[in-house]
């Protein structure tokens, strides 16, 4: 039937015409950006594979991006030579993202999270000329892979000292996530040592949420245990329990007692009524680790194996922000004391234990 055929032809024509229009639409102008920056830029390409949560998680991923941005700002690398990929919701394409970045010739691929470790074990060998870094990683010790770890006990020492300095009751608490792996015990040991350095007679209540990884995602139990520690006389509680920590902040706000956050500056992400009870947070400076690793590769100075970032390297710290930098929370006296401890740890005068006593 002619009308039918004409209609088809008309549709085809429109399609082709629009297609042609579409092709003319793109502009090469958007290629020209980020040509500023320092003069001594290295031309290495750096790719970051984020973990679940991606940009905007106000935690590890954002911190990694800050490290990358700092490296760009300092002129170590050029912005157009960087890229970052976010995984899907289940994280099942973590490894694919690493492969794709390596495949595109990124000299350094940084994977933000321990969960990348088994994948990196398999991938790194395929790209022997390129470097891989895994934050909190436990990847195999091969020539082109570095695991970026943190001396959590040192940061925990500082917030332990802060807790003891702040405490009026002489009793403080520690809320741990999963017991028995040695990981969270490191936080506990540092925290206790810091508190005892301030006040040798201080009483420290310790509660762990559980023996499985589910302990890192159980705010209800976190809240119950926090309440029991506050009821038991503690007036400051520090947590190292991942998402369970939300329960601590809730309990702190309700009981009007102090809490200490972990990993990132958690008062920045807390609600206003919780914020006023968050004394400080123990910071893992993923940005420092990312920045330093980029710099090392740019300077042809890559270290494989396991690297730890402590106070000396700026890898851990305590958080000071607009909300806690006052006498209600982290007074300047306390900060001065903490900075003294910081120096003593860096100089080696104080050695922070990694395992709890007894």
């Amino acid at each position: 039937m002619p009308t039918q055929r004409t209609k088809w032809f008309a549709v085809l024509l429109v399609v082709v015409a629009l297609f042609a229009a579409a092709c003319g639409g793109g502009d090469p102008a958007d290629e020209e950006e980020g040509s500023g920056g320092g003069g001594s830029e290295s031309d290495i390409k750096v790719g970051i594979a984020f973990d679940i949560g991606g940009l905007g998680d106000q935690s590890f991923n954002d911190a990694a991006k800050r490290g990358l941005d700092a490296a760009i700002e300092e002129g170590i690398i050029a912005e157009e030579n960087t890229d970052f990929l976010e995984p899907n919701a289940s994280g099942s394409n973590r490894d694919d993202n690493v492969v794709n970045l390596a495949d595109q010739g990124y000299e350094l691929v940084l994977a933000i999270g321990f969960a990348f470790s088994p994948g990196i074990d398999k991938i790194a060998g395929d790209y022997p000329e390129q470097f891989f870094g895994v934050v909190d990683g436990f990847a195999k010790d091969v020539e082109n892979v570095t695991n970026l770890g943190f001396r959590e006990e040192q940061g925990s020492f500082l917030v332990g000292a802060a807790a003891a300095l702040k405490s009026e009751a002489g009793t403080i608490g520690f809320l741990g996530g999963q017991r028995g792996t040695g990981l969270i015990e490191k936080f506990e040991a540092g925290y206790a040592a810091g508190a005892q350095a301030v006040n040798p007679d201080i009483e420290i209540l310790v509660e762990y949420i559980g023996d499985s990884t589910a302990a890192f995602n159980d705010p209800t139990k976190g809240e119950a245990l926090s309440n029991s520690m506050y009821d038991g006389g503690a007036d400051v509680v520090y947590h190292a329990s991942g998402a369970s920590g939300a329960g601590l902040f809730k309990a702190a706000a309700e009981q009007q007692k102090w809490a200490i956050g972990v990993d990132s500056d958690q008062s920045l992400t807390a609600s206003a009524d919780q914020q006023q009870w968050i004394l400080t947070s123990m910071l893992k400076r993923v940005d420092t680790a990312v920045h330093d690793t980029i710099q090392a590769v740019a300077e042809d100075n890559f270290t494989s194996g396991f690297q730890t970032f402590g106070l000396e390297e700026g890898g851990v710290d305590y958080a000071v922000n607009e909300f806690n930098d006052n006498d209600e929370l982290l007074s300047s006296d306390i900060q001065a004391e903490l900075d003294k401890y910081k120096e003593q740890i860096i100089s080696g005068e104080i050695e922070v234990p990694t395992e709890p006593e007894g």
């Binding site: 629009l18 579409a22 793109g26 990929l85 099942s92």
Partner: protein, 392 residues
């Protein structure tokens, strides 16, 4: 609806010509659908301020530039062929298996349990045992909605969706409790590593192709998927069960009247669907990871519905559709790496493509039906003009 008219000289030749011209019309319709999808996609890409041709070029280059890119596409396609087949065989009997997702998740757990529990077997026995365990896992999970459908009339769409939810929770519990590895003590939730002899090697590894790196898991499951396509074709078009399935699918009432037990046929085909679903997660489990972790690959079952649809539920169309979807997901990687576009753009493109294909199929089949009707009508009239046209 058959156009096979009385046995005149013209009519004996007509079916073949009919088949050819309708195949041609379908091809043209499909090409039109692709063009339309490309065009609509272009508008969206333009709205993001990128050049659509660049984006499409990236998708193609990322999919076909090097042997390893092609291998990646086929790696992506492998599970989708199985899930497409699983959806399609059920659909042929008029059943909508939305539960492939849950069936393959349970099957992965069953396969992992078999690989760990039967590790004393030599490899040539262990691999088949693991495959059978996966099939059984999928079948067990499919049997519940199948029986509920036949015995109580509970609609399989509802029951399979609910079984998906149960599967996810069940496997999460298994990984957290009985199957949890004591070695991966950290926050790395998974089973023990499966014995190496239970894993399925990549084709490149077996044949010693060095241009394809070991991180591309294009395994022997891909040829197995093609074999599965052939077997499904034999089942559907060359066996009694296949005939019954198609009869039940096109009209369960007349099938029943013709002496076919609808219920028995539906249960049988649903179990076969579940067995096929059992293979969906195996490339991930036995090709890639080598253990069952808490973040296994998801959505492969749901993507199977797309593949079955694009492949017209036909065992020859499904691998092509799976490769197409595999290409689009490989293209997503390219877009993520090389442009600032959100990768969701290709998911949108996939949706647009499905819609255009629906429209194209509909237009083409209407046109074919109309022409057949005209021809039938023409044949019923004096057949004076026929010979000239028949030779054309």
């Amino acid at each position: 609806m058959s156009s096979e008219a009385p046995a005149t000289g013209a009519a004996t030749r007509a079916p073949r010509r009919d088949l050819l011209s309708s195949a041609l019309a379908r091809t043209i319709g499909l090409l039109g659908a692709f063009l339309l999808a490309g065009l609509l996609g272009s508008i969206i890409i333009l709205a993001y301020g990128e050049n659509p041709l660049d984006v499409y070029r990236i998708v193609f280059e990322f999919s076909f530039n090097r042997p390893q890119d092609i291998a990646s596409v086929l790696e992506n396609a492998t599970p989708l062929i199985f899930s497409g087949l699983a959806v399609a065989v059920a659909f042929k009997a008029g059943l909508f298996n939305i539960g492939v997702e849950g069936q393959y998740i349970v099957a992965m757990a069953a396969a992992a349990a078999a690989a760990l529990g039967l590790s004393f077997l030599p490899g040539f026995l262990l691999v088949p045992a693991v495959l059978i365990a996966a099939m059984l896992g999928g079948m067990v999970w499919a049997s519940v909605p199948a029986v509920l459908k036949v015995k109580t009339g509970a609609h399989e769409v509802v029951t399979t969706i609910m079984m998906n939810g149960i599967a996810i929770s069940l496997v999460a519990w298994l990984i957290l409790n009985p199957m949890r590895s004591t070695a991966g003590q950290m926050i790395d939730l998974r089973t023990d590593l499966l014995p190496k002899k239970s894993l399925i090697p990549t084709i490149a590894e077996t044949l010693g192709i060095e241009s394809i790196p070991g991180s591309v898991y294009f395994t022997w499951l891909f040829p197995l998927a093609l074999v599965a396509c052939f077997l499904v074709w034999v089942l559907l078009f060359r066996t009694r069960l296949g005939y019954e399935v198609r009869a039940v699918g096109s009209s369960s009432g007349s099938a029943e009247a013709g002496g076919i037990s609808t219920g028995a046929t539906q249960i049988k085909i649903f179990l076969i669907s579940g067995a096929l679903a059992g293979f969906v997660g195996l490339n991930h489990l036995l090709g890639d990871k080598g253990y069952l972790g808490s973040n296994y690959e998801i959505l492969l079952g749901f993507n199977g519905i797309t593949v079955a649809f694009l492949g017209r539920n036909h065992p020859a169309g499904i691998p092509l559709a799976a490769i197409l979807i595999g290409m689009l997901s490989r293209g997503q990687d390219g877009i993520a790496v090389l442009t600032d576009l959100p990768t969701e753009i290709l998911i949108i493109l996939q949706g647009v493509l499905i819609l255009s294909v629906v429209i194209a199929y509909e237009l083409v089949s209407r046109r074919i039906t109309r022409r057949r009707q005209q021809e039938v009508r023409a044949e019923e009239e004096p057949p004076s003009a026929r010979p000239a046209e028949a030779t054309a």
